[in-house]
């Protein structure tokens, strides 16, 4: 069989690992709490997974590029603060602006990330970290002054908490986003370049591609996704608050990598990332409902993720 075909098979298998794992988690959990199998609980998990999933979608784009975005937490927080502040003014025009403004903010931060990474060629790991620190600073400065009463606009709440015929809107938003980004990656030149850069930026540039533009695009897309995550979470909590993004950074990255996306960039799978987001949400929820102590939750979480990665690699080596 061609090596290529093997790759394909592997990719899909990797992508399936989190799905299988999710199934196991539910079934195991169900032996203690039968309610885990109830549609209500599962839909709710999907709704909550959507927040993580939206963030993971953005993170994946950047990781495919061979970079990483550590500014997720405060892009998320900033977008939440911005959107709730606008919505809080009660002025219809500004209320309508809440979501677009937040997304624009995310994209703007993406530009700043892009400048550091593709113009100054600072390792994204560090530059986005610094950007995150600055965003924190801005947020702190801003809440120091007088803030308009902040609250989620009706649209925001409906997007994150509403549901039609049982389907949480958040889930729908997430899936639409996935389809959109999937289309961008698979069907557009931009997507092709993205993957190419993830494999070798030099060779891509020598093919006559303005690679910086692509890097910018990717980081803007990721920033917008983080912002969307912020909007959804603000809608969910019906408010914004400082460091609401901090709990999301590591789970987001974990979701992407256990989905089979190579942290080195160039290859990855959407199905996997979706599965990753769902798996992490489920695992966290099950551990929390089972009232397992923080210490053991950390240990179990880490061990399971490790063993999943090992499983993926051992299989890959057999192939």
């Amino acid at each position: 069989m061609t090596a290529r075909l093997f790759n394909r098979v592997q990719l899909d298998a990797d992508a399936l690992v989190p799905w299988i794992a999710s199934l196991i988690v539910i079934l195991v959990g169900a032996t203690v709490f039968p309610k885990f199998l109830s549609a209500g609980y599962l839909l709710q998990q999907l709704q909550i997974a959507s927040f993580l999933g939206v963030l993971a979608t953005g993170a994946m784009v950047v990781i495919l590029l061979g970079h990483i975005d550590l500014s997720i937490p405060w892009v998320l927080g900033g977008a939440a603060i911005l959107s709730t502040s606008l919505a809080g003014t009660g002025n219809p025009a500004l209320v309508a602006l809440a979501i677009p403004a937040a997304l624009a903010f995310g994209a703007l931060v993406g530009v700043i990330n892009g400048i550091g990474v593709s113009i100054f060629r600072i390792p994204s790991m560090v530059w986005t970290l610094a950007v995150n620190a600055m965003l924190l600073g801005v947020a702190v400065l801003n809440t120091g002054g007088f803030n308009p009463k902040g609250e989620a606009s009706a649209l925001m709440s409906s997007l994150s908490t509403g549901s039609t015929i049982g389907l949480p809107h958040a889930l729908i938003v997430w899936l639409c986003l996935c389809l959109l980004v999937f289309a961008i990656l698979k069907r557009t030149t931009f997507g092709r370049y993205l993957i190419a850069i993830g494999n070798s930026e030099k060779a891509t540039y020598l093919s006559g591609v303005e690679t910086p533009r692509i890097v910018f695009g990717a980081f803007m897309l990721a920033g917008a996704c983080s912002a969307l995550g912020g909007v959804l979470l603000a809608g969910y909590a019906n408010q914004a608050y400082q460091s609401m993004g901090d709990p999301y950074l590591m789970p987001t990255i974990a979701a992407v990598v256990i989905g089979g996306t190579s942290i080195l960039g160039g290859k990855g799978s959407f199905v996997g990332t979706i599965g990753g987001a769902i798996f992490i949400t489920l695992l966290t929820s099950v551990l929390s409902v089972m009232q397992i102590s923080e210490a053991w939750r950390q240990i179990i979480f880490g061990s399971i993720v490790l063993s999943m990665l090992l499983a993926q690699n051992l299989r890959r080596r057999k192939a």
Binding site: T2, T188, T189
Partner: protein, 517 residues
């Protein structure tokens, strides 16, 4: 050389499989001390695989390896080194971020993990000096060396490990004739001291020059081994490619063009690597860039492809000055300049991606953020036209490029750009490490493109190529054009003289080449 040579290493029915590919099939092969054995074969014939097996980089799938008659398992280069087997790899085994010194000490037997002994350094220095590497400082980072300089260091590194079996896998592919001579002198001395040498090269005059005996490989099989001189070149080539090859360099298909130049370079300068270079190339002309490596040819090519900022002088096309701000600007019609870079594995291609994805990468740019791949303004048949012309060997276009042998990789790299139908084609050493058959195919293609009116600039380290393909050759020395050779004065001697910046040269080892045979 003495008779009754000792057997150093013996392969018995050795097979090496990479997944589905059989790189070597039941190869039995012996190699003696005090002999230079040339290993010939097309790209992908299995030469590198053979060498990698001997030097412990990879292990055989089946079969036995004997050293000094004892069955051995060479499970790592370290193990091979301890048995006195040292390989100079085709993909150089130098560490870019370390200094020359550190590279020479790295993994040396007497160093291991312990304290660094300086012993090797003096030896290495001596060797470097002997092969025209005197100018290479021990403290210089390898990354800052040119490709030939690296090959020189690699040779020094290999030899100062006092090998019993020295393997040279295309060790000299980037070196110019005069250095090659020095290296060969060194190798002969080693041989006379009883070292066994395995020598892979795609340059016949080198084989002719150095080898005592010749082994021929064809797609993974050991076809034959014989003393040099037993067979004529055409016979050897026939063994290599399983058919006879009429001639290496196809005849020109069109008269040397005159008329308005397509591309005009006026007094181009860049730092001290390019000093006031002026030249023009007409549609249908093949213009050669010669000279020792690193004399500015490559810089010129990079400038023409929009890779350099703040260059002095001017580049104009059909009289219109060009603003070459990036490769994107260079490739965009109507400018239509294409560059097939020197290093196909890191610059020309993306090995992990499929052949199709690689070929389309350059073309995609046509409609920047076009909604779908397919709409890239390139008729897919264009790819197939060139791939079939060059007889690309592959299962299908979805195979990753890394599966292909170097020669075939190069065909993909060419197709990728030719499909854009460029008006000016820049070729940087397009046949380095490529076997005869593939070479002829590429040469034929160059001729055709010229006939179709493409202006071609060919940078090459192989002067035979320059002589037989180019209408005129600009020989570079120290960032400037030392001499422009045309017609009858276009001879090996003159090229070498010009590139060494002297007026008369010792007779070169250019005699007896397939082109003449």
């Amino acid at each position: 050389m003495s008779d009754g040579k000792r057997e150093l290493i013996r392969f018995e029915e050795v097979t090496k499989a990479y997944g589905a590919t059989l790189a070597l099939k039941k190869v039995s092969f012996t190699c003696q001390a005090g002999e230079v054995r040339a290993v010939l074969g097309e790209n992908g014939a299995g030469k590198s695989t053979l060498m990698k097996l001997m030097s412990g980089v990879i292990q055989p799938t089946l079969g036995k390896i004997y050293v000094d008659g004892q069955p051995v398992r060479l499970e790592s280069p370290g193990a091979a080194r301890d048995l006195g087997i040292v390989c100079m790899f085709q993909e150089l085994s130098l560490v870019p971020d370390l200094s020359v010194r550190d590279n020479i000490l790295l993994g040396a037997k007497e160093v291991g993990m312990g304290r660094l002994s300086k012993g090797n350094l003096t030896r290495a220095r001596a060797i470097l000096d002997r092969i025209e590497g005197a100018h290479i400082p021990m403290k210089r980072k390898v990354a800052d060396l040119s490709l030939p300089e690296r090959q020189q260091v690699e040779i020094a590194k290999a030899i100062c490990r006092a090998p019993r079996l020295l393997i040279l896998d295309e060790a000299t592919s980037a070196l110019n004739a005069s250095v090659v001579q020095k290296v060969f002198g060194l190798v002969r001395d080693l041989r006379d001291q009883g070292t066994g040498i395995l020598f892979i090269s795609h340059r016949f005059h080198e084989v002719d020059d150095l080898a005592d005996s010749i082994s021929v490989f064809r797609n993974g099989e050991h076809v034959d081994t014989f003393q040099k001189g037993k067979h004529s070149y055409s016979e050897i080539i026939a063994k290599m490619i399983g058919q006879s090859l009429t001639e290496l360099f196809p005849p020109r298909l069109s008269p040397i063009p005159d008329g308005a130049p397509l591309l005009k370079v006026d007094d181009l300068s860049f730092g001290d690597t390019l000093r006031g270079v002026s030249l023009e190339v007409r549609p249908g002309e093949v213009l050669g860039l010669g000279g020792l490596d690193g004399q500015g040819q490559m810089v010129l090519v990079q400038a023409l492809f929009g890779l350099l900022k703040k260059t002095g002088g001017q580049i104009s096309e059909n009289g219109h000055p060009l603003q070459l701000k990036s490769p994107r600007a260079a490739k965009a019609p109507p400018t239509g300049i294409a560059l097939v870079p020197e290093d196909r594995k890191t610059e020309g291609l993306i090995p992990e991606l499929s052949i199709r994805e690689n070929m389309e990468l350059a073309a995609l740019g046509r409609h920047p953020f076009g909604l779908t791949d397919l709409d890239n303004g390139i008729d897919p048949d264009l790819f197939t036209r060139f791939t079939s012309e060059m007889e690309l060997v592959c299962r299908n276009f979805d195979q990753p490029v890394s599966d292909l042998s170097g020669g075939n990789q190069q065909k993909v790299a060419l197709t990728k750009w030719l499909a854009l139908q460029p008006r000016c084609l820049l070729l940087a050493d397009p046949t380095r490490g490529i076997d005869v058959k593939t070479k002829t195919q590429i040469y034929r293609l160059i001729r055709q493109l010229a006939a179709e009116g493409v202006a071609i600039i060919l940078l090459s380290t192989d002067y035979e190529e320059l002589i037989h393909l180019c209408d005129s050759v600009h020989v570079f020395y120290d960032g400037a054009v030392r001499q422009v050779l045309e017609g009858p004065e276009l001879t090996a001697e003159n090229i070498i003289a010009a590139s060494l910046n002297v007026n008369s040269v010792p007779v070169q080892a250019a005699q007896g080449h397939p082109a003449h045979a």
